[in-house]
């Protein structure tokens, strides 16, 4: 078999991973990092002062992104499995979720969750309080409900990105030849066992690169939560600017900090991608 010889000459996955250390795009990361350091050293005021002022914002942006991403991977998996489920009801629910959410801008979804959702919950709470005495305790709690900024941001990003990531999972699952499921089922495995042991382990290799890209996109889109008063990097940047009135310096630094984080994430994604790709 000629294929066999070719397969053995290609680097083993682990070796391919080590080469990433020399990936030329790391130079971009290094350049941006050096630029930030030099700017901070050369002009501590405003740049270093700005970074100190935005410290908390950086932490908020990173934690919202990471926590949302974990939730998104789970919601997306459920949506993806729902889209390929055999039950038409489950498939229908998953499809409606995906189509509706993809059709509404993320910003509008966030505004809805912060401003419209509490109104709905409070309304239900007041109704329970007045008309359903046994549930008045729950009613009271709901009537007084407000939304925590952080939780609202995570919910909004998760619902929105869960739909996109669900489609990535679906495409990955459907890219595995039908014969794999048939072989697994013919050996007596249940549909779930076949998914867990045969389909998903193969699909995950296909979907890792697009999943990684979604992380980078999420990191950038998380800036939208600044609109609903979450103190992320953009929000803190705006506060800093309104105190100092130096827009050029402020937004240059915010842009550089985002670039630093996205370029770094993209390199990690590329690393994982090469490490998990294998010769078929």
């Amino acid at each position: 078999m000629p294929d066999l010889e070719r397969a053995e000459q290609l680097p083993k996955p682990a070796e391919a991973g080590r080469l990433v250390g020399f990936d030329r795009w790391w130079l971009l990361f290094a350049a941006v990092a050096i630029l930030v350091v030099v700017m901070s050293l050369a002009a501590p005021d405003p740049y270093w002062r700005m970074i100190l002022f935005m410290r908390e914002g950086i932490r908020v942006t990173v934690s919202i992104t990471v926590v949302s991403y974990v939730c998104i991977l789970l919601v997306g998996l459920l949506a993806g499995l729902g889209r390929v489920a055999r039950s038409p009801i489950i498939r229908g629910i998953a499809s409606i979720y995906v189509e509706v959410i993809r059709g509404i801008p993320l910003l509008v979804q966030l505004l809805f969750i912060y401003y419209a959702l509490p109104v709905i919950i409070q309304g239900i709470g007041r109704y329970l309080l007045e008309n359903v005495p046994p549930l008045s305790g729950i009613g009271q709690a709901m009537a007084a409900a407000t939304i925590n900024e952080f939780v609202g941001a995570v919910i909004g990003l998760t619902i929105c990105y869960g739909a996109y990531v669900g489609e990535i999972y679906r495409a990955g699952i459907q890219s595995i030849p039908r014969g794999q499921m048939e072989a697994a089922r013919s050996l007596g495995m249940s549909h779930l066992q076949a998914m867990r042991h045969i389909i998903l382990p193969q699909a995950i290799r296909v979907i890792l690169p697009p999943l990684g890209n979604e992380f980078v996109a999420l990191l950038k889109d998380s800036s939208l939560v600044s609109v609903v008063a979450v103190p992320d990097m953009v929000r803190r940047g705006r506060e800093f600017m309104s105190k100092t009135f130096i827009p050029l310096e402020t937004w240059t630094m915010v842009a550089l900090l985002y670039l630093l984080m996205t370029v770094f994430s993209a390199r990690i994604v590329a690393y994982i991608e090469r490490k998990t790709s294998y010769v078929r």
Binding site: A183, R185, Q202, V279
Partner: protein
């Protein structure tokens, strides 16, 4: 042919219960009537070969036996278990091994893992027990040294032999072969057929979709000729080659036998 005429040919003891009973089976794919009222009995230890032109419904019929395709009408009873209720399907699949044209090995698992996975999660065997069975079967199909290879490192013939070992590891009562040699280079066909002949000699009940006439002559007890979703003729290999009853059978044989 229909239910009343689906009788054993070729010396099967009268009164024995068939291990596979197919009655008046129909399957449509959209407008295509892929299987059109097929009835077929297979007895324990029998090797039945199904031949016919492409699109004649032979693979679909085979796939109905373990419900990879759900019949639209008719019944399939395997070893006394009717395949009408969903909970029976996994019970039947545990007794019926299947070998596919394109092998369908699991590419992310080694040969050994391919053979042990279902044993461990379906039959709940220990790793040690499953691996012992796997090594025995790999020796039986003639590639004991390939246990830790991945499927993409094997030739087609080796992959198909692993697929046979994988199915046998579940200790099936019946083996279904769906054109097991059609995707193989000529020089690899024999190594797969030899394994199948050994199985037949050991008394395995086999239903084989194949046009390998060497295998038909050497192992088949009965041969079923299908065309356009129906059974045209069902007879012994000797009768089929020397004395085909139907004009369509004669036409088909004249094309595949040079």
């Amino acid at each position: 042919m229909c239910a009343e005429t689906a009788s054993p040919v070729g010396g099967v003891a009268a009164g024995a219960e068939p291990i596979i009973q197919i009655r008046d089976l129909h399957k449509w794919f959209g407008q295509v009537h892929a299987v059109n009222g097929v009835s077929l009995d297979v007895y324990r230890g029998e090797v039945v070969v199904i031949i016919g032109p492409s699109g004649s419904g032979k693979s679909t019929l085979l796939r109905c036996i373990n419900h990879l395709e759900t019949p639209d009408l008719g019944t399939v009873v395997v070893d006394g278990i009717p395949l009408t209720e969903a909970k029976n399907i996994n019970a039947v699949r545990a007794e019926v091994g299947m070998v596919f044209q394109l092998f369908n090995l699991f590419p992310h698992l080694t040969v050994l893992e391919n053979i042990t996975l279902a044993q461990r999660i379906v039959k709940k065997r220990s790793r040690k027990e499953a691996e012992e069975i796997a090594h025995d079967l790999l020796a039986k199909v003639g590639i004991p040294e390939k246990a830790s290879s991945y499927p993409n490192q094997l030739s087609g013939g080796q992959q198909q032999r692993v697929a046979i070992a994988r199915a046998l590891a579940m200790q099936p009562k019946i083996m279904l072969f769906d054109e097991p040699t059609s995707a193989l280079d000529p020089e690899m066909i024999k190594e797969v057929l030899d394994v199948m002949l050994d199985l037949a000699k050991e008394g395995m009940t086999m239903v084989v979709v194949s046009h390998e006439m060497g295998f038909v002559r050497a192992a088949a007890k009965r041969i079923v000729f299908m065309d356009a979703g129906s059974v045209v003729e069902e007879t012994t290999p000797d009768d089929l080659f020397n004395n085909p009853q139907q004009e369509r059978t004669r036409q088909f044989l004249s094309k595949i036998l040079k």
